[in-house]
């Protein structure tokens, strides 16, 4: 198994903890991970994908976006978009971008050679809706009384910070997320048609090495 390297990559105002895999020269893929809890559920898949790409001779870069994982900073849509743009701009090797789920909302691929989307979220509003629904169900299970998902929207409207699926979401972040739609790609786009389990939906994501390998093969073919 190829080792991974850990580094801090400068992305504007923040240095982001980043995992590097694969050769130090040649083609490289920047992973833009899903948002919030979906990111945690996808971590294993992205690690497997990084290893599979390395086996194809392709490097990968997996950053923690500002305010997520071990990265400093305040989470926010604009902050994340800026960080991704910085990471693309400062890379001095042929770079493609791989964006998963909500990560696809953060970049149009500008500055890279191509954009590969895996199960891209159509909108931030859809993600926010799933989070309020999940929280409503969790609250109902805890308190016994049914909660309308719209109750959280009311709290956002009053400017409150609301904990959704374990993440404190300030009202401005909720508003920015709700306004986010999948951008038109600014570079050659490929939307993955590789079949595999949607680990980002799974409470206990099962390892999916076959999915990761198939994605890596598809990406490698696309890059050649």
């Amino acid at each position: 198994m190829q080792p991974f390297r850990f580094t801090l990559l400068s992305a504007g105002p923040h240095d982001l903890p980043t995992i590097l895999r694969g050769p130090e020269t040649g083609p490289c893929v920047l992973f833009v991970p899903p948002l919030f809890e979906e990111m945690n559920r996808t971590r294993r898949l992205l690690a497997d994908l990084g290893r599979a790409l390395a086996a194809e001779g392709i490097a990968s870069v997996l950053p923690d976006l500002p305010g997520t994982g071990d990265a400093p900073g305040t989470p926010g849509i604009a902050v994340w978009r800026d960080a991704v743009a910085h990471l693309i701009a400062q890379t001095r090797r042929p770079l493609h971008v791989l964006a998963v789920r909500g990560g696809a909302l953060l970049t149009d691929g500008s500055g890279s050679r191509g954009l590969y989307r895996v199960a891209p979220a159509a909108s931030g509003a859809g993600l926010l809706r799933e989070m309020t629904r999940a929280q409503a169900i969790a609250d109902q299970e805890r308190d016994g009384a049914r909660v309308a998902p719209s109750a959280y929207e009311g709290r956002f409207a009053r400017g409150e910070t609301v904990a959704l699926t374990g993440y404190d979401i300030p009202a401005p972040l909720a508003a920015d997320l709700a306004a986010l739609i999948l951008p038109e790609a600014a570079v050659p786009l490929r939307v993955s048609e590789v079949e595999g389990p949607p680990v980002w939906r799974q409470a206990e994501p099962a390892p999916a090495p076959a999915f990761a390998n198939a994605l890596a093969e598809d990406i490698a073919r696309w890059l050649r």
Binding site: E37, G126, R129, E130, M131, T132, R133, A134, Q135, A136, I137, A138, Q140, E141, R146, A148, P149, S150, T165, P197, P198, V199, W200, R201, Q202, A203, E204, P205, A206
Partner: protein, 89 residues
Amino acid sequence: MTADTASSADQMRRILVEVLGVPPATAAGLDDASPLFGALPEIDSMAVAGLLTEMEDRFGIVIDDDEVDADLFATFGNLVEFVARKAQA
């Protein structure tokens, strides 16, 4: 059980396996009275919310926010009955 609910049940089993990673043998053994949420480790509140989205896509139904209720996921029978009812509406 009507033919509609029987096919809904089979589709629901397939979604639980494909989307949430419920072991196929577990899904095959689910009957109307089988508890889901709180009983299967593969089903937490986020998985439930994701499952609602997948159900909307796969069954071509629209689930309103005021229909979102943890009781839907209390048992497999509740879930299948809900889907069969929505599909007819």
